[in-house]
Subunit: 151 residues, 2 copies
């Protein structure tokens, strides 16, 4: 364990978050997600003891989201219901992202299942949680930390 | 996820449990344990989202304990108190092991800290949990599953 670091962040996940640069993306996925196949050799960090909300909280405690894009967050759209339908978990997550000052709901893009897979193929890493609720898959695009460009 | 398999068992941990043979030992340790150093290249599986009780429950759902030794379980003795003093976690764990039919308290060996380290050096793998309580370190010796020797 390290001072001030969420204990859910394993050494490997901490290294991954630090290695990621501006625009790189990390996925926090539910327990049934096609992680190994889509990762194709990129890091898959297993966090079976945590759900998507808790794992996202830990990741976003260190990872700045990208302010340079309109939607730095994406999540897998529920297929079986009309467009715009959010699962219970997705509603809680959008609320958590808003309350945490990470992203407004309009900054989170609902993405069709296979389009989401395509995006995941280009991601830097996948955190596979123990989340039991389907469609519990979120993607976060890393932003920057630094001095203000214009003081 | 797999049918009937505790979802806390990551693919790596599942493989480790399957690879272990009779007499091999696995350690379930607290979050501050010296895992990487003592493992010295052997598998360290990070389960920061679970404590020692939950992780032990998952491990022992598949791992048979060794009936060929008097004490197939060992745990790190509390140093600061008189011999025989059990931490709150250790009391709960001994109770859990008994209730689960895994081991009686007398089959669990309290081991001095540095003697425990020596034993861990010979272990097959270490599961590093998110357990916040100190002295939350247990070791399990694998037994056998098979036909009765004398019917």
């Amino acid at each position: 364990m390290l001072k001030g670091i969420d204990p859910l962040l394993t050494p490997e996940l901490l290294k991954v978050l630090a290695e990621m640069g501006h625009g790189d993306e990390i996925v926090v996925a539910d327990a049934n997600f096609t992680a190994a196949t889509l990762a194709a050799g990129k890091p898959v960090i297993h966090l079976p003891g945590a759900g998507v909300e808790r794992a996202s909280q830990a990741v976003l405690s260190l990872l700045p989201l990208d302010a340079a894009v309109a939607q730095p967050v994406a999540f897998m759209q529920v297929s079986e219901y009309p467009a715009g339908t959010l699962s219970a978990l997705q509603r809680r997550m959008l609320d958590q992202l808003q309350r945490g000052g990470h992203a407004q709901p309009a900054q989170c893009e609902a993405t069709e299942r296979f389009a989401f897979y395509d995006r995941v193929r280009d991601a830097f890493a996948i955190v596979l949680t123990g989340e039991q609720q389907p469609y519990g898959n979120f993607l976060y695009k890393k932003g920057v930390i630094g001095e203000a460009l214009v003081p």
